[in-house]
């Protein structure tokens, strides 16, 4: 029996685990005891992360659609067809009519190659990935405030913090191993404050739970900051030495005394005061947030308000402090770092910057487009005529799913590269079978910027190949040979062109448990916390934000507020977890969480079917009556293809980050 140390393929915690292999089959999983994140533990998804890998439904060979029917093809045929398809659309409508979706489930090396392929080979900056739907507001919001949009501190610091303030994160279910560190801290006397409209498990364990209305985060944070200012809890020295634009910002706070914040958010003014005092009066205070902050039309504002809060109190630039966005996917941090974004090359070097462009042009020996590309949502809005999608399932994951499916249907050419057939492959002209996390080498970057080595445990099924190999072969066919002998050679190129990854090479990752970027050279040990002594952009910038209500609020016709998210047992569109026996048995059905009182009023009974309607569509799910959601609010997870809750969600976008408002829309319910 062999045991191969690798990284969990699910969430951004990036737990270290062993895959057990016997005679070419994976027979189990176990946690790494010395890993700094999971220290001998795993969540249920990690413990069961092996089962989908050798599932019989894995894609085993390339497929081509002919006259509407998929047939098996050879790699040569399939890649030829892809090259032709892309070239045809490019010749007819130009490179900018092609869109590329990279993947937060793929390795850094693969994301880097995908963006190189889009920019260098196709010649377009239209490359994006699902980070658009989760943390694009973080990337944009923090870039302007701090100059770098990533979790500032490290997971292992949590245990030593004095105050943990968690807003918009269902940490125990969605980042379980981070929650483990939080609960350990609480056991040692740390104060935990949670702001969440739902009564999540971590909220129940908190010393103070602020149950604000969905979409009122800015008002809540401004209220808290108002208290901090009026009660003299501002770290004036820090504000003076390390930040700018404070005065303009401060004047706005007058509009949000706790009483006003109370009327908007529904949180008692006394609790707002209490939260402000708890957070501001300790030095070792860490702030965490996740989708509850980012997935709003005011996502960027929410993030900026969080940034303002940590600057106001000087809780940044030291261990056990900071602003800590919890990234969802195992490698969403890496996919962003690698420049699978329409406006950035790897390491957030702007495509608009001529110097950066020249650098990449020289290294790649290709002329590169100047104009930033389209975002994922813009591509789906008819911006492109052909798409190359790697490891994503927008037909379920994107808002207003019906619209997305129409968009996919209308494409002249679609190629999808994945490990299973998905709802998106239904529209593909060519399907390319890819290797899963257990079948290739590479690196993932977890939410605390830790770049870790992924190691091959078994061979891919059938003729499937690693994504990076597929991209290389396709690129060669399209006249641009890439010549990489292994993913470590791609990493070398990344290090060369990406200052924050400058010293990160595979052979360095073979000892210990990864390196946290920025790591500028090969002697650098990595950086556990950011913005030490000064912000990445120099001075931290206060940004004035104002409260704006969500785009669609309940009204007479659609009286309930729907908020969406994930549940503990499943992951995203369920491609992997729903093929895992124990996990799927645990939660086989989509449900809607309804408050007890609402259910009584509408005559809805537990586990009975309910129809949920919005202006965009309707679905039928089973009712789960609970106190987790407040009255007037319902919650539906987005994992289930049988009841795609994104048929209901509102595609209204944050104007800056272009992130859709998954967390608020108006719906009506009726018992079926």
């Amino acid at each position: 029996m062999q045991k191969v140390l690798t990284v969990c393929p699910y969430c951004g915690c990036g737990c270290g685990l062993y895959l057990h292999v016997e005679n070419g089959r994976i027979t189990g999983v176990s946690p790494s005891r010395s890993h700094p994140v999971n220290t001998g533990s795993l969540c249920v998804k990690g413990w069961n992360s092996y089962e989908f890998v050798q599932h019989p439904e894995r894609l085993r060979y390339p497929m081509i659609r002919e006259k509407g029917i998929l047939r098996r093809a050879t790699w040569q045929e399939a890649l030829q067809k892809v090259a032709e398809g892309i070239n045809r659309v490019k010749a007819a409508y130009g490179a900018h009519s092609i869109g590329v979706l990279s993947s937060a489930k793929c390795t850094n090396e693969e994301n880097y190659l995908m963006m190189k392929f889009a920019r260098g080979v196709i010649g377009t900056n239209n490359v994006d990935h699902c980070a658009r739907l989760c943390h694009s507001s973080t990337v944009g919001g923090l870039a302007r405030a701090f100059g770098s949009g990533a979790m500032t501190n490290s997971i292992s610091e949590i245990k030593e913090a004095r105050v943990l303030f968690v807003i918009g994160s269902n940490t125990m279910e969605q980042h379980p191993m981070i929650a483990m560190h939080m609960l350990d801290a609480v056991r040692k006397g740390t104060t935990l404050v949670v702001a969440d409209p739902r009564q999540t498990q971590i909220a129940r364990l908190a010393h103070l739970h602020l149950r604000h209305r969905c979409g009122t985060d800015v008002a809540l944070l401004l209220g808290i900051m108002n208290v901090i200012v009026t009660e003299g809890l501002v770290d004036k020295e820090f504000v003076r030495r390390r930040t700018e634009n404070f005065d303009a910002f401060e004047s706005l706070l007058d509009k949000y005394p706790p009483s006003v914040a109370e009327s908007i958010t529904g949180v008692r003014a006394a609790d707002i005061r209490k939260a402000a005092r708890i957070y501001a009066s300790e030095k070792r205070s860490m702030l965490f947030y996740s989708m509850g902050i980012t997935q709003h039309i005011t996502g960027t504002d929410n993030v900026r308000a969080c940034a303002d809060l940590v600057m106001l109190t000087g809780h940044i630039g030291l261990p056990m402090t900071g602003l800590n966005p919890l990234r969802g996917q195992n490698n969403v941090q890496g996919a962003c770092d690698m420049g699978a974004l329409p406006e950035f090359y790897s390491g957030y070097q702007p495509v608009k910057d001529p110097k950066a462009r020249r650098k990449f042009q020289r290294a790649w020996r290709r002329k590169l487009p100047e104009r930033p590309g389209l975002t994922l949502m813009e591509m789906m809005d008819g911006g492109v005529r052909a798409m190359y999608i790697m490891g994503e399932n927008p037909a379920i994951s994107d808002p207003d799913a019906t619209h997305v499916r129409d968009a996919l249907k209308k494409l002249d050419f679609l190629v999808v590269q994945d490990i299973f057939q998905t709802e998106t492959t239904e529209y593909a002209d060519v399907i390319l079978p890819a290797a899963s996390f257990a079948e290739k080498d590479g690196t993932f970057t977890n939410t605390e910027r830790r770049v870790q080595l992924l190691r091959k445990a078994v061979d891919p099924p059938g003729e499937a190949k690693a994504d990076w190999q597929i991209i290389c072969e396709l690129s060669e066919l399209m006249g641009y040979p890439m010549h990489y002998r292994g993913s470590y050679e791609i990493m070398e190129e990344i290090a060369l062109l990406t200052p924050s990854y400058g010293g990160i090479l595979h052979h360095r990752l073979e000892e210990g448990f990864g390196i946290q970027w920025p790591c500028p050279n090969s002697n650098h040990p990595g950086t556990p916390y950011l913005h030490r002594k000064k912000f990445a952009r120099g001075l931290g910038s206060f940004i004035t934000v104002d409260y704006i209500p969500p785009a669609e609020l309940p009204d007479e016709k659609y009286p309930f507020l729907l908020t969406t998210g994930r549940i503990y047992f499943h992951y995203h569109t369920g491609t992997m977890t729903r093929r895992t026996s124990v996990i799927e048995r645990e939660e086989p059905l989509c449900f809607v969480e309804i408050n007890r009182e609402d259910a009584k009023r509408l005559g809805i009974r537990d586990s009975f079917p309910v129809r949920v309607k919005s202006r965009r569509g309707e679905i039928e799910v089973s009712a789960r009556i609970t106190d987790r959601v407040p009255e007037g609010t319902v919650f539906i997870p987005f994992h289930f293809r049988e009841a795609v809750c994104n048929i209901l969600t509102n595609p209204a976008l944050d104007p800056i980050a272009k992130i859709p408002e998954f967390k608020v829309c108006a719906v009506a319910l009726e018992a079926v």
Partner: protein, 338 residues
């Protein structure tokens, strides 16, 4: 006891190499900063004093994912009959086998377990230095055993004191007796010294009898169990790592021309574990499932299998992210009486 030998440490690799000629040799090896059990390439790399492994050695008797049979036009038995020797396991794990054997082999015999059990030779090492999570000491399941083992080794510094507890074990010793000698008085003294000093090193003493009594006399409030439940992550980790937990589920996988029946580890912490037709969930409330695990280990195991469902290996203490493992919860009972 028959079958006691002294083995010079320098001869250990030779002995293990001979075993490896006939069996797969599995032993603790270093992997970065971890130590894990796996097939041994280089015998000199074996870690001779390793902390409790995760998961427990039950992974070699009932693997997490175990193909049982395959159906094509006929049924093919996929039972694993390969021979293994697992070196370096702990006493508590060996004592867990006693109950596992009763569970899987009394009455109805589980053929998959039986095949692996028959073909696996365990070499356990007495724990000279227990981990600080260990609490076998109060339970009679370690740090050394009087019976029930195949081969038990005492580390006496430059040599091992070898005890054989099974026929297979005696075979391996007598066949290689030229590597060994019979123990003398000094060896017995040193062996006893190890037993004494090891016992003195435990940091934790947990009385499962006390916990059993608290439960059977209904001295714990629902509030107590609610508090435990609130911290449960439903990861299943305690069940997966425990040498005595046996929850599993069976499912079929259809391939193009064949169907495979597979058994995987499951856990009683999941509500679906006891789901009935019509989506009836007898233990939907989480508190019921928390209680079930503790009740099962502390009340029902003794009733049905004749011993506690815990050998004090401390693995759940290491793996539980909510810190509601056996040791922690039992210790907490002291201050939480109703």
């Amino acid at each position: 006891m028959a079958g006691e030998w002294i083995l010079d440490k320098n001869h250990l690799s030779y002995w293990l190499r001979q075993m490896r000629n006939e069996m797969e040799l599995i032993a603790p090896l270093r992997e970065r900063e971890d130590i894990v059990f796996k097939s041994v390439e280089k015998i000199h790399e074996i870690v001779l004093d390793c902390p409790a492994s995760i998961p427990s050695p039950k992974e070699f008797l009932t693997p997490q994912f175990e193909p049982m049979l395959k159906k094509t036009d006929k049924i093919i038995d996929l039972r694993d009959n390969s021979k293994r020797v697992v070196f370096g396991v702990r006493s508590c794990d060996i004592s867990a086998l006693r109950l596992l054997d009763r569970f899987y082999l009394n009455g109805f015999k589980d053929p998959y377990y039986e095949a692996r059990r028959k073909n696996t030779l365990f070499i356990s090492i007495v724990c000279n230095v227990p981990d600080n999570t260990c609490f076998c000491i109060g339970l009679g399941t370690g740090p050394f055993l009087k019976e029930g083992f195949d081969i038990q080794l005492y580390d006496l510094g430059d040599r091992y004191f070898v005890q054989c507890g099974s026929k297979e074990a005696r075979k391996w010793c007598s066949r290689y007796s030229f590597l060994m000698r019979r123990p003398g008085k000094a060896d017995f003294e040193d062996q006893y010294e190890v037993e004494l000093s090891s016992q003195a090193m435990f940091r934790k003493r947990i009385s499962l009898e006390y916990a059993q009594q608290m439960i059977s006399e209904d001295k714990l409030s629902d509030g107590f169990w609610q508090g435990v439940t609130e911290r449960c992550f439903e990861c299943g980790g305690c069940v997966y790592v425990c040498p005595l937990c046996t929850c599993y589920t069976v499912f079929d996988r259809a391939y193009d021309n064949e169907t495979e029946r597979i058994r995987v580890w499951d856990t009683c912490f999941f509500k679906g574990f006891t789901r009935l037709a019509g989506n009836i969930l007898p233990a939907e409330q989480r508190i019921l499932r928390t209680k079930r695990w503790f009740y099962h280990k502390l009340l029902y195991y003794p009733e049905t299998l004749g011993g506690f469902g815990c050998v004090g290996c401390g693995r759940c203490t290491i793996t539980c992210p909510g810190r509601i493992d056996m040791a922690t919860v039992v210790l907490k009972m002291k201050d939480e009486q109703k």
